[in-house]
């Protein structure tokens, strides 16, 4: 097994796999990706709603979210040789109250300021776009260039292509520590004591990144949060838009094969304290989720749920990720704390990580996501 490389990527999720792929694509093929689980993309990368959106995002994220939608997603299936089921059919963010609309309007304004086409529409127009939605919806924000894709396929497609290009992956290799050699991050030590060495390392291990970063004296202010989702049986094609709400009590879409995937919550998630490896769903969420879904799409009441799943989010204190080299630890690049919305931006994040490794300027400016932004604010 290869144990030394130019680049060590800690975390075989979508960001780690995408970074590996873009590195290999540009010729940096001496790369090792270490994945803690036996399966690639076993964390949030396989456990998310598949949204590829710009609307509703923090202004600091918009440039690279837009870059991915404009320049990367449309050709990704072709590029990776796997249909990642990208569907650019718009995002409806639904509101049922005036307060909802106010919030949506604010987010829409943010997006427009950054140049994204997001506008507020009334109930009538909502129904024209999606006739299945509830009459209780009084308005929505509408971003026609948003969409969705299949997160499991996208992650595994990046992985498959990176393998084909010569990247070395090691699964079942949970990293315990990073060690500096002569002032520079150099060694990566796994739970069983195996030492991997690299010139540069990318830490993209979700919430687990926090413990690993601490071993070189870096603390990323993030918490973890458990979220669940429901999957329905295959349904006839109904609509293509990605749906969300002002309340964030519900999001989802119909996947290409016909199943609907909906995020769902029961309201007790804040208290979830299981180990990170425990992704079992709770006894309450499925029912709560179904009620929320039917509240927005009553027509789905007879659709059957075939599966529920859960996963952990790495929630940053300021709700946007940390994507940057760390000055105090030369050789270390952080890519974590995606706060539950890292899937849609993974192509551009992966690309920019590859640029950071070779010291190239990133395609868009993401200096607002630097690690050194965290300061006492009172």
């Amino acid at each position: 097994m290869k144990k030394a490389a130019d680049v060590i990527i800690i975390g075989g999720g979508i960001n780690g796999c995408a970074a590996a792929y873009y590195l290999a694509k540009r010729g940096v093929k001496d790369v090792i990706v270490l994945e803690a689980a036996k399966s690639i993309g076993h964390g949030g990368s396989s456990r998310n709603g598949g949204g590829v959106r710009q609307s509703g995002r923090d202004p600091r994220e918009l440039p690279y979210a837009m870059y991915a939608v404009k320049h990367m997603w449309p050709t990704l299936s072709e590029e990776l040789g796997v249909d990642v089921e990208y569907c650019q059919a718009g995002n409806l963010r639904l509101g049922k109250t005036e307060a909802h609309l106010e919030k949506l309007n604010r987010l829409a304004q943010n997006a427009r300021n950054a140049g994204v086409d997001v506008r507020m529409i009334d109930a009538k127009e909502v129904k024209e776009i999606n006739p299945y939605l509830s009459d209780e919806i009084i308005g929505a924000s509408w971003c026609p260039t948003d969409g969705h894709a299949n997160p499991m396929l996208t992650t595994l497609a990046y992985y498959k292509r990176a393998v084909e290009l010569g990247v070395s992956f090691v699964k079942d290799a949970p990293v315990k520590a990073i060690q500096k050699v002569k002032g520079k991050a150099r060694k990566v030590i796994t739970a069983d004591g195996t030492v991997f060495e690299g010139e540069t390392m990318i830490l993209a291990a979700g919430y687990e990144s926090r413990e690993i970063a601490r071993t070189v004296g870096i603390d990323i202010p993030m918490t973890r949060y458990f979220e669940e989702a429901l999957v329905t049986e295959m349904q006839p094609p109904m609509f293509d838009q990605m749906l969300g709400t002002a309340d964030a009590d519900f999001y989802g879409h119909q996947a290409k094969h016909g199943s609907f995937v909906f995020g769902s919550e029961c309201g007790l998630e804040e208290a979830a304290d299981m180990p990170l490896t425990d992704t079992r769903t709770s006894s309450l969420t499925m029912s709560a989720g179904c009620r929320a879904i039917m509240g927005y799409i009553p027509a789905l009441k007879d659709a059957k749920i075939v599966r529920s799943w859960g996963g952990w989010l790495d929630m940053c204190i300021d709700e946007v990720p940390v994507i940057s080299p760390v000055e105090e630890v030369p050789g270390l690049i952080l890519a974590c704390a995606f706060t539950g919305h890292g899937f849609g931006t993974a192509p551009s994040v992966g690309l920019m990580l590859s640029q950071m490794v070779v010291g190239e300027e990133t395609v868009v400016d993401i200096s607002a996501l630097r690690y050194n932004r965290f300061k006492a604010d009172r």
């Binding site: 425990d278 079992r280 769903t281 709770s282 006894s283 499925m286 029912s287």
Partner: protein
Amino acid sequence: MKRYDLIVIGAGPAGLSAAIEAAKCGMKPVVFDENAKPGGQLFKQIHKFFGSKEHRAKIRGFKIGDDLLKEAEEYGVEVVLNATVIGLYPEKEVTVKIGDEVKHFKGDAILAATGASENMVTFKGWTKPGVIGAGAAQTMMNLHHVMPGQRVLMLGTGNVGLVVSYQLLQAGCEVAALVDAAPRVGGYGVHASKVSRCGVPFYLSHTIMEAEGDEYVTGVTIAEVDDKFQFIPGTEKHFDVDTICVAVGLSPMSQLLAQAGCKMLDTPGGYIPECDEFGQTSIDGIFAAGDVSSIEEASSAMIEGRIAGVSIAAAAGYLTEEERKEQCGALESALGSLRKGMFAPENRGKILKETEEGIEISTNLLAKGYVAEDEITRYPGFVKKAGVHPVMECTQNIPCNPCQDACPKGCITIGENITSLPVVDVEKDCIGCGMCVASCSGQAIFLIDEEYEEGYASVTMPYEFLPLPEKGDTGTALDRSGKEVCLAEVVSVKSAKAFDHTNLLTIKVPKDMADKARFFQR
């Protein structure tokens, strides 16, 4: 949240037995089952069970089911039907779909007795309508009174394949062949023999090449396989059938336990929870019993269930440790005796050469489904004497002994060891009552009278088909392989309540056919 001291999931033999034992100790268990009827697979089992009295031997499965339900009612066990458990959570909470809503219940103890599901094999055309599980055939014919097909090929010669083949014949279907990729019959020899003598050919070391038909099955081609299970060209055989039944084993349905986070073991017998001797999984208070913890016969599942019920009651303080030990001890010895013999768990996969008595095992039985004429004479149940007497074609050590109690004259002995082959005492006088014939769950006992008439012998056989022949009917006698051997005349048909639907059919055949004729065909 409503809390029970015991929630049992699955009202099959294990689940009901556990709930009954727990209730006997003063607990108030509830049993949830997703089906409209309780009893699990028991109500599809129309054959007589093996074992001894304590295992309810020679009683048909569905009657045991009836009795179990009565017992459950007697002890006040609450059985909720059409109640699908959709989730099992670590805090011993279950979510159950009852009617049109979901309910949550907690139990101080939970017992998963969720049973097993059928394994499958792939072959060309295996998804075509007409390819069904053997369990599906049983469900259709024995529960819903609908024939699964007109002409059926059975894949698999384990007990399920053998028993279901016989049941298909009883339902009026034709069984074209029994096929198994293994070189030996997997199930009890007596089950194989009763199918074989009806004229169903066995093809061992054969498997299905293709299920044919455009919209649904209209035929099947099988072929011989070598010891690496590869088809041998030129050995193809075609059968016109409308149904292919697949009976290639069962797997524990342990998904609920896995969901709850119980430590699971991946064994050759399936994905099972790791359990202690009382059936408790790695999660305190969550138990498993029956097929979900290891695939066995229903008789074992019932005892396992009782052990779990007693253990749960003891853990909850309804029994002292001494009482538990006493009750479990008796149950464990009953379970132990069922796990003896050639088909015992420790003998799985082994090729045995001789019986416990040191008698060479019939190779013909394993290769073709019936004991050859020159082999049968070496077993202690095969005797010759003047006048009517039993001939017992029981050649394997299986845990079963009702025959020795059935004979009012003490002609038959099995002895202390329940798996011993029956011995016929020629000194004792057989009165030809036929109780032994009807008592044999393997339908392996015949009454022979070689001096029935000048030049003729009579052969009395168990007969469980319709229409029942009548005295005076003439037809053909078939030998153990199902081959026609001579003309035969029905001289007596006896039915009695004590026989429990096993009719005693006596035919008259030429004297030299006394050791050959084993079935009657009109």
